[in-house]
Amino acid sequence: MDAKNAEPSLKPPPPRMSGMKTVLRYTGIPPSWLDKRPKLPSRNWLIFLSLTSTVIGYGVYDRRECRRIRQEYIEKVQHLAEEPLHPLDLPRQVVVYGSKWPGDEEYQQAVKYFRKYVKPVLVAAAVDFDMVSGRRLGDLSKRVAEDVRVRRRLEAGIDEDPEIKKTVPTYKPPSERYRRELEGGIVLVGRQTFKEFMAGLKNGWSNGLEKVDQEEELSRTFDEDYHFDEVDEDAPPPSGAPSYSPIFSLSSQSLSQRQAPSSVSESTPAPQSIPQQPPILFVPFSNRIGFTQIPLMIWDWFNQRHWVQSGSESAYRLVMNQTRQINVPSAVSSEFAEPSDEGGISRSATTQDLGDLDFDLDKERLYKSSLSKIPEEAEKSRKEFYDKLPERLATARALFRGTREPTKDELQNPPPTEVELRAERMKKELKWRNDVNGWNLVKPSTPIVWDERFRDALRVFTDPSEF
């Protein structure tokens, strides 16, 4: 201290320090940093950061909203799961139908939508569910019709539950099972499911009680066909027997009706009134297919909160269990007695409001336009197959009967035998018919099948009035 006072030279007064610097200078921060002026990053960095932070921020916001909405609905219903239940009792059970969205190879998209957006609320409310999906178009309607047929047989007393099921301690007789079903419900995910379901329901309640095996019927039709006949060189080919081309005839109902007169031994008429069905929950569902839809798919991915909202709301409606009669104007039944697929009645022509039958109508816009070519494509492949068939058949028969020795190629890759050809034809015919019938069921120009008997039998879940 004394040595310093003795120095003659004057140092400039130390610079005045203010604010943060007085404190921060004792931390390890290099002092030059404390003098620098804060400035924005460069223009390019700014662009990059703003773009990425907008995108990421919107995504994060969307997912947080999803979580919040889901949590909100879960909290509304979770008190229902705390109620005690006797060990041998069963909780409320619903059946979820999700058929294939036309054009999508992934047939489970509807069921996945249910699992992701509707299921959490059902799980929180302890409502049990059975998920049923249809692998191809038209599968679900066949299954529903089969279930109805089995039920009709049980109720008519023709069939009985197998003995072994009666030995189970929790066995319930059919009447009680159906009563329990009524307390449950049916969930339909998407308009395509609704169409298939109604068609299946109508078929089930209108057709006979005999089991109709499609393969047997087809084989009967094929026997009358000329394709596998022996070719006589001299005789002219039969001109009046065209290959059975059901594309431009009505749906599979006509097929079963044609066989009905021969197979009905017990001529039970269709019941006049249908027993009360479990209430139906409509879950709106859409699926975008196609390359041009990809930007919209990305936008949907950023906006999943809307789906969470609609899915959870539907689940809440199901859980709260308030139902109303189905609302369909009475003029419907006369117009839509038979689904016509010759483009006669197209949806745009009738401007009538069909009440509940209009569920999710706007989503049908999303069907790919190439789907309308399904009947033509089936017809084309059928023609191709039948054109090539005589030659393959001739080879098969020649090799089988030994009229000709197999060539080297044929030894290595043996061509199909006649049995295999028949099997192949059966498989292909089944596929073509199922595809075409399924598409005819679901395409936009087919209205939803409606029967007057449904009016009293169907109920719909509605929004609960009190919150």
Binding site: P87, L88, P162, I164, K165, T167, V168, P169, T170
Partner: protein
């Protein structure tokens, strides 16, 4: 399962064997319950006596266990019947 051995003496033997197995199973179940309920309910060894809280815990544990077994048994029987009816 029993009546594939037609001999009466064999049947008696089989019934004894089955009885023994059932007894063993029963005792195993009992020790299982005791073990689980003890592990969950009694965590405080500062006193020798069982407190009333632990009493209620034990009775609840036992009740829930038996109800649970009942329910699992019912589901199992249903599933068995389903597969048997399906395969027939």
């Amino acid at each position: 399962m029993d009546f594939s051995n037609f001999n009466a003496a064999e049947q008696a033997h089989m019934t004894k064997v089955i009885e023994k197995k059932q007894m063993q199973d029963f005792l195993r179940l009992y020790s299982n319950i005791v073990d689980k309920c003890f592990n969950t309910c009694c965590n405080d060894f500062t006193s020798k006596a069982l407190s009333s809280k632990e009493e209620t815990c034990i009775s609840n544990c036992f009740d829930k266990f038996t109800k649970h077994t009942e329910r699992v048994g019912a589901r199992f029987a249903e599933a068995n019947a389903e597969t048997a009816a399906g395969s027939k």
